[in-house]
Amino acid sequence: MSRRKLLASLVLLPLGWGQARLFAATAGSEGRTGGGGNRFLLVFLRGGYDAASLLVPVGSRFYYDVRPDIAIAQPSADLASALPLTTDWGLHPALRESLYPLYKSGELAFVPFAGTHDHSRSHFETQDGIELGQPLEGHRNFNSGFMNRLAEVVQGSSAMAFTDQVPTIFQGTVNVPNAGLKSLAKPSVDARQSAIIASMYQGTPLASTVQEGFMVRTDVMRELATEMDTANRNAITAKGFELEARRVARLMRDSYNLGFIDVGGWDTHVGQGAGTGYLANRLDELGRGLAAFAQEMGSAWKQTTVVVVSEFGRTLRQNGNRGTDHGHGSVYWVLGGAVRGGRVAGAQVPVQRSTLFEDRDYPVLNEYRALLGGVLQRQYGLSAAQLERVFPGARAVDLGLL
């Protein structure tokens, strides 16, 4: 928590004293040193993405029977058919150019039947539950997200939410800054005014929030300057999630080592498409963004792990509108320069009617706290006590992904 200490000292400084210099001194260094140089990014697909379209159970007759219109075809020469992974599984063809190469080079793994044991099938209940990372039974502290607790236990961590508001996952005792990176505007409040505004908040509960806001703004603007510089040299400018992911990468390469970002648009009740169509376009954008992130991290990619999660999977059967309804088990993605990928990991069962949860969804065989606990334990060498702090009452399962 090196940033926190700096903040504490910052508040004591006299006003009007070179605010800009202060900012320059605080940002930029911890990221490279903190957490042993390890970086962790969690990507949350809000809306419950259709995992069975991403990691296609190409060996399951049942899958093709219950999805007459929206199944992804078995691997073939057809560009809209699944990409071959294992005898049981294929990958959505929208990821052909972006993430399939990472899978083949062993830097990407998938964990099917992953998720939470909460089977409310409510977006909000399950999202909150996963972000809190606390046991489902008993009292839950709604102001304590698991990545905030992770920021607490990882030495030298410097966390940031790349979202417009601080999400539940980062709520807690560590004051985590945030900045949405979809669109950026140049600030008009200058350094002197910032200092005077900050002075009004001294001694109030928002003091460090306000200080963080000004600091992060400086960090982000520095990154934006680089981006504009690149754009001026006629580089192709990225759009949408890819642009966002590149910005995240630059900030995580230089200043922050624990990150969170969410991506919406996955609640495909109607007309989700198959090898092409709505969901294919969403996966394409996501895939290109993650590939861009990996590329932009440069040499830091070797020490970076990205996990992609979602609140639940969707019904295995298509619904009446060529879409899918809220389900249970999902497929999580683990990628990074040090990931032992190129495989489909974790406990699995054949995809058939008899293995469905409540005769409609994937079961959850790889509980998210156990799974993430195992990844984080490897990544940060967390002690049992630290792990207990991050995921109280959970038993980490090491799938050998790192």
């Binding site: 409510s122 508001q165 601080v166 900045a179 505004i197 009004m200 919406g264 009740h269 509108n321």
Partner: protein
Amino acid sequence: MSGSANKGARGRWAIAWSSVGCGVLAGCAATAVAPGSGGVGAPAPVPKEAMAATKPMTSDYVLVNRLTWGATSSAVAAFDSMGWSAYVQRQLQLGSEPLPDDAQRQINDLHALNRPLLELVQDLERQRVQADALTNDDAKKAAQQAYQQALNGLQRDAASRHLLRALYSPRQVQEEMTWFWLNHFSVHQGKGNLRALVGDYEETALRPHAMGHFRDLLGAVVTHPAMLRYLDNEQNALGHLNENYARELMELHTLGVDGGYSQTDVQELARVLTGVGINQTSNVPGMKPELRGFYVRRGLFEFNPARHDFGSKTLLGKPVHGSGLAELDDVLDRLASQPATARFISGKLAHYWLGDTVPGALVQRMAATFEKTRGDIAAVLAVLFASPEFVNGAPHTFKDPMRYVVSAVRLAYDQKVVLNVGPMLNWLNRMGEPLYGRLTPDGYPMQASAWASPGQMATRFEVAKAIGSGSAGLFKVDGPQPQERAAFPQLSNAVYYQSMARTLAPATLHALDQAVSPQEWNSFLLSAPEMMVR
């Protein structure tokens, strides 16, 4: 400016202010000055006798600020002349009061909002179909763009009307409740042609019932095309079950997630909702003669018995007899009268008005009134507004962006009606809370922790500076002959000197003293911690 130069700032600053004068403040001479505000001139120290007449901390200013979209000099004056109980009573009464002419005229000019919805949507559908049918790529692209622009314009009109009412309606509580229900029964404008529907949704389903009975409100929402489209119920039919709306109807709109329903209840409610949908054409769908008596059509709303599952159902342990649309009335009665619904709605109301620290006993009293009055929203609010927590509490509820923006503009301009709410729409976008802009059906969160983030604060100070530094585009009229009327934010006004100033902490007053211009003084005031809470 260095730190030392700030010392003795008050004197320096007053000089700076008068020397800046009207040269910088474009048109300030033409601006009406609120009585007692001292205009844009130097803020003279608050007179001793005014201080002596000060009321306790929960002053009129604090109460008005809590009850309305934000305190203004005129609202506090109205409150003072009526007294608390008469003021609250008037706010809770049903009925309407006219807006200031300048505001009403702008609303009247939003012509498309006054067209019958069916006709409007049919015109737009024709436009869309014609655009899609074009074979020339450029022409097609242009026509499709024009269609999208028409939709954008409709959404913007609806949002503009919402803001004008929030700013100027004498019925402040009704406007706040309209926003509250819009957020409770949240829809996202980005889906399909919802941009054309949100204005009508607000006007016919939400606003008329915002202070009425919850059951009526619920019924109006369930049959409005905006909700039926947003949560996919228009797709829900016998043999093609779509449970999206059924689930949210119980989880988010009535019982709450812990309200005691099961996955089976979701499926059964989805069956009840089959055939409840939208018809954008003027045609009656074909059906067996024996079903025709069940067919219902009201504008865009359609109940199509040929798509309905007439089989028997069980919801919350009680049977629902297959009887067409009457089943829906039956189950809505059931849902609206559940104790879980009374608790859930009361809890949300209390949270909206009082913030994160709502005592359970108060929510219980509100829920009891909810049950006793069969969901009379005004009666439930009356319990809330009479509670000691509401009347005596110090300001502590963190403002969400909507409340921040509206309160800042109200404080800055009071009854001087803005001519363009476009900048406000942009600020709401930047702060992450645009009208009709919540992607997910849960509505925007009201917890302070959801908004009081570093990124939000940095953006909020930018917005404060924009509002404080000049007219900020609020008095600029778009159109063929763009015009800008002179205006300057009047923040050093009557309510500031009579009430607000003495609620400010020393650090805030000290910061204000360091301002080198009226613009900066305004920006600092709007950036102050006291401006963030109510």
